[in-house]
Each structure stands twice: as C-alpha cells, then as structure tokens.
C-alpha cells in the first residue's frame, strides 16, 4: 500500500464537517498548479481522466475522490461524460490520460486487483440473455472465481431480495426492462465488492423495485461499502446520496456532500444553475389552449 501522503484528508463517512474534496467549479482548460496525487484512502480516486472520441472530447480531465463508505451520486445532463467517466473508472474503457485508483490500487496498472474490488452495472450493454436469471448470476459468480456453494447460496438470496425468485428459471431475453436491470444488478453484487459502480440503475425500474434496490444499497453503505450511482433524477440523488458530483461537458462543475453542493437551494435548482441551458418559456403561444 502507498504511504499516507499529505493529501486532502480522507473524509470519514457521513461526516457533517465541511468536505475538503469540495472544489469550486473548475473552468475548462489546464488547472493551475500540479494535480493532487491520488487519495489512497478513497474508494475511487480519479486524476486527470481524459478521453476523446474522434473530434469530440468526451471527458476533459476529471479529478474526483469518492470517499470510502459514501453513497455518491454522479449527475449531469445528457452527453456530459458520465458513462465515459464511469467506464474508465471501472476498467471498461482505457483513458487517453489520467489514472483511476480503487482503494489505493491503480486500476489500469493492475486491472485484476482493481476489478476484484469493484461491482459494475454498465449502462447500454447487453447481458448473456440466453441464460436463465439464475444461470446468469451463477455465471457472474463463477467468473469471479467463487466456489460453487457460495455462488448457489448468494444467487438464491439475491434473486429473492430483488423479487426475481419466481423468474429464476426464465430466460433473461424474455425479462422486462426493469427485471433486466435488476438481474444485472445481481451480477454486480454476487462477489460482495467493496465498491459498487452503477450507471443509471433506476432506469425502467418500477417504484416498488426501486425502493427495494435503494434499501439494499443503503444497507450496503451502512455496512461499510461504497456506492457510486449516475442518474438524471436530482430528487432521487438528493434523497438517497450523501455525496454528489455535477458533471457537464466532460468537467466536474462541483463535488462534495449533497448539502455543500446544493447550499440552500434544491439540488435540481443548483444543478440547472451550474449547467445552464434553461430556455425561457416565451413563444409557443399557440400551444396554450385557452
């Protein structure tokens, strides 16, 4: 492990104190001064992540520390670079520059060790959907090198917790969108990772299942795990997460505890203020029915 270096002190989970990881909105362009070294105590520590696809710079130097034991929300408008950032933070997409440390392990230098500590729910990828739900979760467990009995036991518990027990023998291809999200979540949880990274976990999930998933995640955080979720739904993030980062145009606009970021506004208002782009509702007069 890396010796503790003088970095912004790790945040004790759930601490109400001002968060040193909070930074003012960073302007696009090179940052003044040398970048801070990665924080070995953080669950995820991203430094200078950069990715460009052709002409488009999707992520332009993102620095972010996700404190261990936090419930971290990543919010941003469409095309802000959330998915690209999370892909680079979980080993699915190699960054052009920058590093991602998972609990002090450099993910891109030692992918095997890094990925062992991560559970990932990527957005917009298929599943091996010709398997049944139980087979798919078992497959994910065995791929992680777990033994058969543990996998069987956890698979049954996960399916029950996610209300999928009666669909355990149904092929995933015949699942609804919400069930597919839930079974994908189960594959991310099976090896009891220290950190969960979930890209849009609540999309298409019905309210009851969403509440169940929130309970599972809250319990997981309470027992010391770390959860990172990306979402469009500010309300949900404000209620569920204790930390939040606002991302737009490939930059972090604000990061810290939810209360610090939103100040005395609602998170949604603060978000709109940071990101901009609200249209005035002049015009469309013909649309008014009276």
């Amino acid at each position: 492990m890396v010796d503790p270096v003088p970095v912004p002190a790790p945040v004790p989970s759930g601490a109400p104190a001002p968060d040193p990881t909070l930074r003012p909105a960073t302007a696009p362009g090179p940052q003044p001064g040398p970048p801070a070294p990665p924080n070995p105590a953080a669950a995820l520590s991203l430094r200078g992540l950069w990715k460009r696809f052709g002409q488009k710079i999707a992520v332009a130097g993102i620095d972010l520390d996700v404190p261990a034991g936090s419930f971290y929300g990543l919010v941003g408008p469409n095309g802000a670079g959330k998915t690209t950032t999370l892909s680079m933070a979980t080993g699915l997409l190699r960054p052009d520059a920058g590093t991602a440390h998972v609990h002090g392990t450099d993910l891109w230098a030692d992918p095997a060790a890094g990925k062992r500590q991560l559970g990932v729910l990527p957005d917009g990828v298929r599943l091996f959907d010709r398997l049944t739900g139980a087979q798919l979760v078992t497959y994910a467990g065995l791929l992680r090198g777990m033994d058969r009995d543990t996998v069987a036991e956890r698979t049954a518990e996960l399916l029950a917790a996610l209300d999928l027990a009666k669909d355990a023998t149904t092929f995933v291809v015949d699942y609804s969108a919400g069930m597919t999200k839930k079974i994908a979540l189960a594959t991310a949880l099976i090896h009891a990772p220290r950190t969960l990274v979930l890209d849009e976990p609540f999309e298409a999930v019905d309210p009851v299942s969403a509440a169940n998933i929130r309970d599972i995640l809250a319990g997981y955080v309470a027992s010391g795990g770390t959860v990172v979720v990306s979402s469009h739904v500010m309300d949900l993030v404000q209620r569920m997460c204790d930390h939040v980062a606002v991302v737009a145009g490939g930059h972090v606009l604000a990061a810290g505890t939810v209360d610090e970021v939103r100040g005395d506004q609602s998170l949604e208002d603060r978000f709109v203020e940071l990101v901009g782009g609200r249209q005035s509702t002049e015009g469309l007069a013909w649309l008014r029915s009276s």
């Binding site: 890094g114 991560l118 990527p122 398997l131 497959y139 791929l143 033994d147 023998t169 092929f171």
Partner: protein, 528 residues
C-alpha cells in the same frame, strides 16, 4: 399521401448513404449488378419471344410464378419484410387505413428488389413486341404481377406477424431455414447429373415444362404472367380467365392485409410466452472455475442461440452434400468429410467475442483472465467437435470401404480440428468483424461489414491451411499414392502439430485478451 410515402422512403434511403461512403459504393455496385441481371433477363425474354413465342410464354410464366412465390414466402423465413416504413410508426398520425395501405403498397415498390421486379416484369412483356395487343396485355399482367408481389408479401407477413413475433417460432424457423439453403447447391448438382446422364430427351423436357406452365398459369402466382401468351395465341377467353384469377388474388391479398393491419395496429407487438429452463444446466456439471463457467456458458449458447445452433443443424447435412457432389459413396471426395467438418467446427468460434456482442462487458468488468476466456470457448468445440470428427472419420472410411486409410483420415481430421480451433482462439482476440447481433436472424449480415469479414476470414483460413501443411501433405500422399503406411505418420504429426498450434494459439489469444480486453469491448460497442 402516396407521394408523401414515396418521398419518405426515398429520403430514408438517401440518408442511409450519408452514413458512409462505402455503403454508397456498395449500393451503386449492387444497383449496377441488379440492372445488369434485369437487362439480361429482358434481352433474353425478347430474343426468346422473337424466335419461339411458345417457349417464351412457358419461361415467363414459370419464372414469374417463382418470383411471386419468393416475394410471399421468403420474408417469412429469412430476411423479414423491409421494415423501413413499419406501419406501427404511423399509428399515432391518425391516417385513414385506406390511404395508409395505398401509400405503403406503392412505397413497397420503391426498394431495390421492388424496382428490380418491376423492371424485369415490364421488360419481359416486350417478348411480344411483334403483337401489339399481346404486348399491351402482357404489360397489364406485369403491373398486376408486381402489385401481387408487394401486396401479397405484406399480406402474408402482416397476417402471420403474431406468429413471427414469438421468439421461439422465429428461432425454430431460422434454424430450419438452413436446411434447404445448404441443399440448394447439391440439388442442382443432382439435377444436372440426372440430365447429363444418358440421352437427354429435349422434347420430353420441353413438353413437361409446357404442361407445368399450363397448370401454373392457373394458380394465383402464375396467372398474371400468362396474359401475354394467351392474347398472342388469340385465346381471349383464356386471357380473361387468367386476368380474373390474378385480380381476384390481388383483391383477396388486399383484404387480408387490410384486416391484418387493422388488427396489428391496435395490438402492440408482444414477444410471446417466456421461455424457461430448469436448473442450472451445464453450470452445475462443469467445474466451478472461471474456465468451466465460460465453457458452460458457451455450451449453453451452442444449443440455445440460433446463430450457433444453425451451424450445428448444418453438420449432419455435410455428408449428404459430399455424397451428392462426389457422385456416390465410392468417390474419394467423401473421405474429405471428417477434415472438412473439423475445419468448419474449429472455424465457428473465430468470431466469438463479436457474437457475445456487448454482453462481453461482463467478462471485462469481472476481470476474467484471458486463459479462462480462451480455453472456456475452445473446450466445448474440442470435446463435442472431437466426437463428431472421429465419428465422421470412421463413417467415411467405412462407406468408402478403405479401412486401411483410417489412420491418415483420422490424423488429418484431428490435426485440422486442433489447428483451426487454435487459430480461431488467436484471431478472435485480434480480428473482430460485425456479425448478426444476438436475437437477429443469422442470415442478416450487418451492413458495411463485408470488407472486415473478408479480411478476418481470409487471414484465418490461410493460417489454418499453412499450419496444416505438415500433416496435410503426408495425408494426401497416403490417400492419393495409396500408401497406408504414411497414414500412421499423418496421425502422429497431425496430433502433435495440432496440439502445439492449439496451445500456442490459445496462449497468444489469451495474451492479446489480457492486454486489450477493454479495446475488444469498445470494438463490439461500436457495432451496436
């Protein structure tokens, strides 16, 4: 409304070109080829009509009937109907059904096959250019025939849509469709052989065709095509009767389409009943290791995914094809059965990562070691393919009555299986090309992928051939020079060389995988 639909269709086709230059070039080449074929058909019909009007009538009726039948039936099995203008997309616009139908019907002609059919049908009418009245009748017939093609194909696909939408049915039908496709070639070979043997009675064949055309011209498929011939012969009653049959068919098809569409528009597509499987299947039988898990998943997919099971369905047909091509059991070609099958089986995993499509993300995010991924994919092929290969080797030797050649055949077969599996394990971690997506028809080749596919498959094929030379040469010597002793050398060399290539191929593939799994994932993501 009709004009709007046609314009929409043309705009959609035009926009497809803007996506890539290669696609445009592909379209232009395809269109030129289509024009060439149409031109040949038309010229052929005119020449034939000038010299032998009776035969021309027969050929036009039979060919035309086949075209109509093709329009009606092929979309059910293979490609699905052209969904550029899916009626479901117009549901919310509140277009009167009658105008919607008319628009869709006319827009249906505006497509490559539609235009090709229309041009051929109209052009072939000029077989009767010497008799203006017959030409006129044939042109009317051609218009009716094209309408019959388009409306009929819409009627069958819309009416059977509830069936087609059920995943289970679709999969069974797609796998079944491999069978006739594989047998088309041998069937022609057989027909040719039958005709080639003995004195061909041209008169008898011609008479048979004429009688057949006489019958077909009364069916809904052939009726519109027989108009010109009937008028040419001055058989006005016959012409009228055929016109009535054709128009009645068109009316019935229109009504069926109308009804089916009315029902479809208020019944959103459902995927049919959900499939179930008991227990964990291979997952509880294979070792509980990452390699075992990948092997269990691969084996499950071989049985359950039509893109894989289609190739399994073909395997039992290979002996049939070789028997027919070789012209009987005595031929030496039949001895190629086992090596050929082994090559196909080994080759079948050469695009495995592309077949996973983005589900491959699970392997990347789990950090599956390359060794486990490669061996897991190769082992099911080696075990099941090995059994089939040995069986085929024994059968082919037994059928040929050449037990003395068993070691040679076995050596080549086993060597080819191991070599091509090894090469596939290496290339599938390096040379990716777009393949049909999970859930798509195995026949649906992704657009713009021809070049990448060609390069990857050629490289793999050349590699297998080059690496197989050490045992292929003694094997050929043993068979052709009739030196069964060399067969034992072949067996030894085949097993050793094959094993070495397999291990090296898997290792190289595993190293590539470990170094570049995220890049592989991004490649498949770009195919989405």
């Amino acid at each position: 409304m009709v004009a709007q639909f046609v314009r929409l269709k043309l705009t959609l086709m035009g926009n497809a070109f803007r996506r890539s230059v290669w696609q445009t070039i592909g379209f232009v080449v395809g269109a030129l080829y289509g024009l060439f074929v149409v031109g040949m058909l038309v010229v052929g019909a005119i020449v034939l009509g000038t010299t032998d009007p009776e035969l021309a009538g027969t050929v036009v009726v039979l060919g035309g009937a086949l075209a109509v039948l093709g329009w009606w039936v092929i979309p059910l099995f293979a490609f699905g109907v052209d969904a550029t203008l899916d009626p479901q997309r117009f549901v919310l616009f509140g277009i009167p059904q009658r105008r919607l139908l008319a628009g869709l019907a006319v827009a249906g002609v505006v497509s490559v096959p539609g235009v090709a059919t229309a041009l051929s049908a109209l052009g072939a009418s000029f077989a009767w250019w010497r008799t203006p009245l017959a030409l006129l009748a044939a042109l009317v017939g051609a218009v009716v025939a094209v309408a019959l093609c388009v409306v009929g194909s819409r009627a069958t696909t819309t009416a059977l849509a509830p069936l087609l939408e059920s995943r289970r049915y679709r999969e069974v039908v797609t796998v079944a469709a491999f069978v006739p496709l594989v047998l088309v070639g041998p069937a022609f070979a057989w027909l040719g052989a039958q005709l080639g043997e003995g004195p061909v009675d041209g008169e008898a064949v011609g008479g048979m065709l004429t009688r057949l055309a006489g019958v077909v011209a009364w069916t809904p498929f052939g009726a519109p095509w027989g108009l010109g011939a009937a008028v040419h012969d001055g058989a006005w009653g016959l012409a009228l009767a055929r016109l009535v049959v054709a128009l009645a068919t068109l009316a019935v098809a229109w009504v069926v389409w109308d009804r089916a569409l009315a029902r479809a528009l208020v019944t959103p597509p459902t995927s049919g009943g959900a499939g179930r499987a008991k227990g964990l299947g291979f997952f509880s039988r294979f070792p509980a290791t990452p390699t075992g898990a990948v092997a269990a998943r691969t084996a499950t997919y071989w049985l359950r995914d039509p893109r894989y099971s289609g190739s399994i369905a073909v395997v039992p047909l290979i002996p049939v094809v070789l028997l027919v091509v070789g012209g009987g059991a005595g031929s030496e070609i039949f001895l190629a059965l086992a090596p050929f099958t082994a090559w196909i089986l080994g080759f079948s995993i050469s695009a495995d990562v592309a077949y996973d499509h983005t589900a491959f993300a699970l392997h990347v995010s789990s950090g599956v070691p390359g060794r486990a991924d490669r061996w897991g994919r190769a082992l099911p092929v080696l075990v099941a393919g090995g059994a089939v290969t040995v069986l085929f080797a024994v059968v082919s030797v037994a059928v040929a009555g050449r037990w003395d050649l068993l070691p040679a055949i076995l050596g080549v077969s086993v060597g080819v299986l191991l070599t091509s599996t090894g090469v596939s394990s290496a290339t599938s971690a390096r040379l990716l090309y777009p393949v049909p997506k999970p859930g798509d028809s195995p026949f649906k080749q992704p657009q713009g992928a021809a070049m990448a596919t060609l390069v990857a498959q050629t490289v793999a094929m050349v590699l297998v051939l080059a690496l197989s030379l050490p045992f292929l040469v003694p094997g050929l010597v043993a068979v052709l020079a009739d030196l069964p002793v060399v067969g034992w050398v072949t067996l030894l060399v085949g097993a050793v060389v094959g094993a070495v290539v397999l291990v090296l191929g898997v290792r190289w593939g595993a190293r590539r995988y470990d170094r570049g799994a995220p890049e592989l994932l991004q490649r498949v993501l770009s195919y989405a």
